[in-house]
């Protein structure tokens, strides 16, 4: 019987949650790397037992861990992330030039075809690649050296490259997003990049048509339709039907214009999920009610999903990498909170139940559907 493996990164370690296809009974292992921040861990789509994890600490810096047995054992891999050439400066919060400095790996994206190849999105924003299973890392500098780099500015969480999407139909095409530079696309395997931010609206930006400077929080796509992208940004939920060349707002009747996560149903490319969050400074669910919103129309028309979620006195956040879906039938949806809960739905969001309640603050959630 098929099953799922949920990979959870937290402020104090990684946890692995496994279940059979019913997704009612769960086995929890961890903490792996207890006491370390695990910004992200993700499995290879080619070899589900090959996992990569980003392990970091303010004391000891960045490590990369790799597992070849689905997370039972781990090996530390290479952790040298050196920018190519002289990295120059980007803008600091106050607009002054600030040198590019590596801080941590936010996101790991394994190749769709080769378990030895994995991409890393880092802070300060850049994309790295390893082709030897995480032993050596090389920056792909075409992104950082895009002419707009000196104008990029950090978001509140730092200048992080947090989203990497690989087009399943054309592996030369990838999409990335940076807070707060915006979204970019490569059509030539990371050699060159194009900002894809036309149509985004960001309050207080002096030039509303600026090429970069938008605080994109997350992008999602359905693998069957890689030209259609969905975006949760600091302001608004957006949609593109032309691979990011233009964006339209699809926030519709959502209760706030802010949130971090966004994801797409595994079998219904027009069904998308977000978790509205109150901003600009509170960053918790409006009215203390934790609600996932689902649109079955690709945006604009949204319905709250509340069955099993706390509807009073709930003031957690759901961070940008902390939602994922499985590909079972019916689609499972999962998200983690800064309060340490990981909620799962085995019926596409109709009902929810906590898989775990008391983990450290959850930074990321990924799901593997196992044969």
């Amino acid at each position: 019987m098929s099953g799922v493996r949920v990979l959870v990164g937290t402020r104090k370690g990684a946890f692995i949650l496994t279940s059979d296809g019913k997704r009612k009974q769960w086995n929890v292992t961890g903490p792996h790397f207890g006491g370390w921040e695990i910004y992200h861990l993700k499995g290879s789509p080619v070899d589900p037992n090959r996992l990569y994890a980003s392990q970091s600490s303010g004391w000891f810096g960045q490590l990369i861990q790799r597992s070849n047995d689905g997370g039972e054992t781990w090996q530390p891999m290479g952790n040298t992330f050196s920018y190519a050439g002289v990295p120059g400066t980007h803008q600091w919060y106050d607009g002054t030039p600030h040198p590019w400095e590596f801080k941590r790996v936010w996101h790991l994206e394994p190749s769709l075809t080769d378990p030895e190849t994995v991409y890393a999105g880092v802070e300060d924003a850049a994309i790295f690649r390893s082709t030897d299973g995480g032993t050596n890392w090389e920056e792909l500098p075409g992104l950082r050296e895009h002419g707009s780099g000196p104008h990029w500015q950090p978001g509140a969480g730092g200048m992080c490259l947090h989203t990497i999407l690989i087009d399943p139909s054309d592996h030369q095409r990838m999409f990335i997003a940076i807070s707060a530079a915006g979204a970019f696309r490569t059509d030539d395997g990371c050699r060159s990049w194009k900002p894809i931010n036309r149509g985004l609206r960001s309050e207080t930006m002096p030039d509303p048509a600026a090429e970069v400077g938008h605080c994109v929080h997350r992008i999602a796509m359905h693998p069957s339709r890689p030209g259609v992208l969905f975006m949760q940004k600091h302001w608004d939920v957006m949609r593109s039907d032309d691979a990011g060349d233009s964006w339209q707002e699809v926030s519709g009747n959502l209760p706030t214009d802010f949130g971090f996560v966004i994801d797409v149903h595994a079998h219904e490319p027009e069904t998308i999920y977000v978790v509205p969050i109150k901003s600009d400074s509170e960053h918790y669910p409006p009215d203390g009610r934790l609600r996932v919103y689902r649109s079955k129309t690709g945006g604009n028309e949204w319905e709250p999903l509340t069955n099993g979620l706390p509807q009073r006195d709930c003031y957690v956040n759901v961070l940008r990498d902390a939602m994922a879906v499985d590909s079972l039938d019916s689609c499972g949806v999962y998200f983690g909170t800064t309060g340490g809960q990981v909620y799962g739905s085995n019926d596409a969001g109709e009902s929810w139940a906590p898989i775990v309640r008391d983990l450290p603050a959850v930074l990321s959630v990924e799901v593997q559907t196992l044969p």
Binding site: Q62, L63, F81, S82
Partner: protein
Amino acid sequence: MRIRVVLPPHLRKLAQVGAELELEVDAPITQRSILDALEARYPMLRGTIREHGTQKRRPFLRFFACNQDFSLEPPDTPLPTAVASAEEPFLIVGAIAGG
């Protein structure tokens, strides 16, 4: 010569060593020679004590021996003979901070 090194708990777990380890280090015994030998023996520690490239001590770590703080000393300064003779360990200490 064989010297003694104490790592902070997180790095002990990473290197899979106990509270104190012994290390063969070529003279002269300095911060640099100890850390070079340590990283050669335990490659997973590279980058966790000194930054890659610059080899600068990570800011939340300090180096002690014989009740003295050597953190701000140049890395090639000879350490006390008590460290070289393994009477005293070389201590790598993480800053105590909340969170």
